[in-house]
Symmetry: C2
Subunit: 441 residues, 2 copies
Amino acid sequence: MSSPLPASARITALDVLDVRFPTSEHLDGSDAMNPEPDYSAAYVVLRTDADDELEGHALAFTTGRGNDVQAAAIAALAPYVVGLPVDELCADLGSFARTLVHDPQLRWLGPEKGAIHMATGAVVNAAWDLAAKRAGKPVWRLLGEMTPEELVAQVDFRWLTDALTPEEALEILRRAEPGRQERVARLLEKGYPAYTTTPGWLGYSDEKLARLAREAVAEGFTQIKLKVGASLDDDVRRMRTARETVGSDIRIAVDANQRWDVQPAIAWMRALAPYDPYWIEEPTSPDDILGHAAVRDAVHPIKVATGEHVANRVVFKQLLQAGAVDIVQLDSARVGGVNENIAILLLAAKFAVPVCPHAGGVGLCEMVQHLSMFDYVAVSGTVEDRVLEYVDHLHEHFVDPVRIADGHYLAPTAPGLSAEMHPASLKEYVYPDGPTWTTRV
Amino acid sequence: MSSPLPASARITALDVLDVRFPTSEHLDGSDAMNPEPDYSAAYVVLRTDADDELEGHALAFTTGRGNDVQAAAIAALAPYVVGLPVDELCADLGSFARTLVHDPQLRWLGPEKGAIHMATGAVVNAAWDLAAKRAGKPVWRLLGEMTPEELVAQVDFRWLTDALTPEEALEILRRAEPGRQERVARLLEKGYPAYTTTPGWLGYSDEKLARLAREAVAEGFTQIKLKVGASLDDDVRRMRTARETVGSDIRIAVDANQRWDVQPAIAWMRALAPYDPYWIEEPTSPDDILGHAAVRDAVHPIKVATGEHVANRVVFKQLLQAGAVDIVQLDSARVGGVNENIAILLLAAKFAVPVCPHAGGVGLCEMVQHLSMFDYVAVSGTVEDRVLEYVDHLHEHFVDPVRIADGHYLAPTAPGLSAEMHPASLKEYVYPDGPTWTTRV
């Protein structure tokens, strides 16, 4: 479906911008481990010399300091993409993603974790944005129209085959082929179910929490989320306030943002249990597979969720193998981009665990909606017990912002990954030289 | 023991250098995942305004490309150390290390993994180098003279307490107090047992392998190591060559550098088993705790070892909890510095698993010898089944290089962490402007 282009069109540049928003001033985004985040993006643009003037945009999300390190990691990948023929790149993004991940020198900085892996994710996602724009489709539809064989070719199965082989992946995808069209139609009509974290930031007063929770229910959300983990007394009071406000039919998830060791996590959740929390998110270290398994055993029937800081598919594989999580919370910008997230969706499908992605930050809602919708169309084939996080922050800076109606993400229809920001926003918030920052320092 | 200094002495600068050695030209350091490494150091110097003119030197090791990203990550930590009073810093390195690790914005890039965590390790290690120089002692002796209480205060117990509490750590250290002096004396007399990887690089011919293996035995080593994982036929032949060369009394470890999935690892090791490999190192992903446990179950009595790429103490904790490893191979420059490595030594002691550190690269032998010697003096109290990796690369660039005699590391006596490089070497190999690189590009 790509437009007819001269065979010579190549990637001519990988530009990186350090973009930061002073969100710490209003405690939006405050939680037990992130008291004062300045939501930031290490923003990447792939440029080509094609006549269509299309660009690939994506970003790695950070919380402020360190965004310059993230930008440097992205810049280090420029030699791997600048000069590539655009047609070849877009025709085989699986090989491209594996080239970045397997580079024998860069991988020392990971392997497949931290700044270098998030950089890979940003560049791979930018390439998907470009490929989808050239195809004239949103990424979720581009993915949803690929054959099972084409999708399997996107995945790096290294280190996965004890849990998921290419043959098993193919079987999962083939099983979901019937009904793809109906599910696309349903998404275009109703959208994908969402939940909202907007009421629950730790820095908000009880009054603000109650007001925002009431508004969330009125807006059609059936699940909200509260940040917990700083003070047990406060959390019990906030959880009671939230439960009294929304009643017993609305799910209330809680999120500790890694604050606890295993035993304190269990004790804390027992204290909150009378208010019927739906899931506990990030009870402890995102690396602690066995710790999550121990917490899950102890707090049942409260569900255990994690993923926004899970470094890669190997850790997700083990969380599933160990029965450590009830909910997989993949993130669009933490792992190695769309390709590794396809692997994670397939792993979750293999183990029959629902994926409820992490979002928020800067542009994470915009990007990850494509993954959940693709999951529904072509992988899990269901939205049962699936909800996609929604946070009402910073969407005004995006060219194709998420649209929420009646507690659902409406399906994006513009071509690409929806990560492109307005030029005026990039100019205003670029760090440290944008007007927002020069007037503050 | 620090010299009398004006209370006003402060850290005045954190300098970072990108230093690279063109080791790929001779295939030194070649293995199944690192075919052509250019051993590199993101080198850090802490400067003060104290009259003693002492500096803190340390480094993060990388394999070439990406060393600039690593240097950027270290530079991002400058605001956390520049301006600190030197006395206070050196008197409480535990608090300093926790300040870096817990920074609520920087931790988004990890948490505690990848470039930002290796940067923390480099800066923390530089602070230990400075503290030890001010105390007039090598780091292993500075540590070995601390009380159990002082040592426990160095450790960040976050996420560890389900496996190791401060009280248990104290008990381990108290149990090892008797005999410290005798063990110091033994180290000063005999040194710490080593093994050598010099014969086994994948790029070497069979003749070179056999010659270097013979030399290693003649030099007093009782263990050598071979890189494996690129070709099974080659590995069987190389392993047979090595075994025929050294005889049955010398231990031969093999190292796959993460090359395999779980089932291929098991099959490969069964093919090598007739030649009696002592351990298989990094059979699969360093993140794959359950995978290592499966390999260990299947290849017994061949031991399973890993650690050089294990991101932090939480992953080591689980490798031990899951019974996934027989050997803990901590690395001086992968995790959060001396402080996190004290935690890892204590975890290994708790689970009674020997620590045989990873070394090689640039300066890793120099730094890690302090940790093994400290382990012997004050933690495990034994060298039984402990060997410290030795690779004969690049030591000539260090002011206080490791000294090997009769298959042992001789105990360093100069103050500090032994990571300081000669100014002439830094000047020659700085990238991309040093003469070594300008004449190549």
